[in-house]
Amino acid sequence: MEKVIEVRNLVKKFGSFVANDHLNFDVYQGEIFGFLGANGAGKTTAMKILCGLSSPTSGEAKVASFDIYKETEKVKRNIGYMSQKFSLYEDLTVAENIRFFSGVYGISPADRKEKQDKLLKDLGLESARDSLIGSLPLGWKQKLAFSVAIFHDPKIVFLDEPTGGVDPITRRKFWDLIYEASDRGITVFVTTHYMDEAEYCNRVSIMNAGRIEALDTPENLKKQYSAKNMDEVFLKIARNVD
């Protein structure tokens, strides 16, 4: 399978503080990769590097086969990003948001028109085209935010706590979208504090104090740590008890 993220001995220091300590991992095409860790474990730092927003102190990494030191612009063009905090502009309409993000990602107006029609039809949001994002129900907003994040057909989409504060049904519907994207071959790199969601990933890495302490399928991690679910695995690793 094709590797879409390759990370080798990645180190990021802030002064004497080591935020990322020799990270090594690969992520494959179409994979749902869960990137877990306690607050302050170094997830955000690593994610910023992989998104081309920050340079590592040492080590190597390629994202969508582009070098994260020299080709950050190409990296950015080939990834999508969504978080609970930053997704769409509330005071723009659905169509205006799509137009804005299409512009950012260099999609031509003709392509945009066609893709937008299809997108709104698929999501059943045709009637909401000219509604302000702020006026939409949360479930719709989420669907749309995710669709906009992958509107330019990126190789990888980074989801930073995409389901925080969302009701349990909407949260599960969001995972349907993640599975669909993965079926289409888009790699999904996702962080979450919901440990049940860790079970939905193909593979999960767990960071602690700047290092990746564990990386495997949820099934194997549960076996390795003799845990009945991912919550227990996480607690064992993050609390450093065996």
Binding site: A38, W140, G165, P168, I169, W175, H193, Y200
Partner: protein
């Protein structure tokens, strides 16, 4: 200890909360459980006398939240959802500041915060803005407690906090409850509902149900199955397209599935899924979680 009668509040055209009534007993750990937009923050701000309700009344320890607002502010500790301490003051300075505002001193009430504060004391000279998420949370809780309140109101203290820090935080709350403090806490995490004495399940400004978590779970009468196979995504799609399935949702490593009118047997699901070539198939009865209960209540209200 807290009595809320028919409280409603709207912001211009948005109805934030509608006709909420509930009682919190002295010494109780009471949870407001619901997603963003449920009205949890609005209700807490009204109780904290920071917002005025459109309709209804509420009292805390017998004091009216409008007439006696000054008494209430002295009696209640509040931890808002957004980190609201002074980022450019140190840990120690923040604590002293809040103590002084309430005309007390840190040493006077140190007993109450010791267990919590001791964990951040090594960083007392650090600016609050430079603390990690878990440490900020502990400092905010210490500041909310420094005037020895009888009631503690905590607005989503564990949102965005990792699973380990969340567990620690709830242990701290249990300890405070032991000291006789009445606690009203809100959270979007369903699993935390189980840690409360009683909860109000909220959605879109309304209370859907109020009870002990145990009673809520026991009150769930539907026949619930846990189902898994080696291809979970295909499993969920196949189950949803099955005419006898009512609902199928992912719950960690299993799907939780209900049948139409609860008249579908486990073997029917099993046979159907075997015909669909699912391997390593497992179908068995399962006891509901509070999340199943909440989702059942939500079914009608969600698009």
């Amino acid at each position: 200890m807290i009595s809320i009668q028919h409280i409603s509040k709207s912001y211009k055209e948005v109805q934030a909360i509608t006709d909420i009534s509930l009682e919190v007993q002295k010494g109780e750990l009471f949870g407001l459980i619901g997603p963003d937009g449920a009205g949890k923050t609005t209700l807490m701000r009204i109780l904290m006398t920071l917002l005025i309700q459109d309709e209804g009344t509420a009292t805390m320890n017998g004091f009216d939240i409008i007439k006696d607002y000054k008494k209430i502010r002295n009696m209640v500790g509040y931890m808002p959802g957004r980190f609201s301490l002074y980022q450019d003051l140190t840990v120690e300075e923040n604590l002293n500041f809040f103590a002084t505002v309430f005309k007390t001193t840190v040493s006077e009430n140190y007993d109450l915060i010791r267990d919590i504060y001791i964990q951040i004391e090594p960083f007392k000279k650090r600016l609050a803005g430079k603390l990690s998420g878990g440490m900020k949370q502990k400092l905010a809780l210490s500041c909310a407690l420094i005037h020895k309140p009888e009631i503690l109101i905590l607005d989503e203290p564990t949102t965005g906090v990792d699973a380990v820090s969340r567990k620690e935080f709830w242990e701290m709350l249990k300890n405070l409850q032991q000291k006789g403090i009445t606690i009203l806490v809100s959270t979007p995490y369903m699993d935390e509902a189980m840690l409360c004495n009683r909860v109000a399940l909220m959605q879109k400004g309304k209370v859907l149900d109020i009870d002990t978590p145990r009673n809520l779970v026991d009150g769930y009468t539907r026949k619930l199955y846990a189902i898994r196979s080696n291809d979970m995504h295909r499993l969920i799609l196949d189950l949803r397209s099955y005419e006898k399935t009512d609902s199928a949702y992912a719950f960690g490593q299993y799907l939780h599935v209900t049948g139409k009118d609860d008249e579908v047997e486990a073997t029917e699901f099993e046979n159907y899924l075997m015909r669909k070539n699912h391997e390593d198939l497992e179908v068995h009865d399962i006891a509901p979680t509070i999340e199943d209960v909440f989702m059942e209540l939500l079914q009608d209200t969600i698009v």
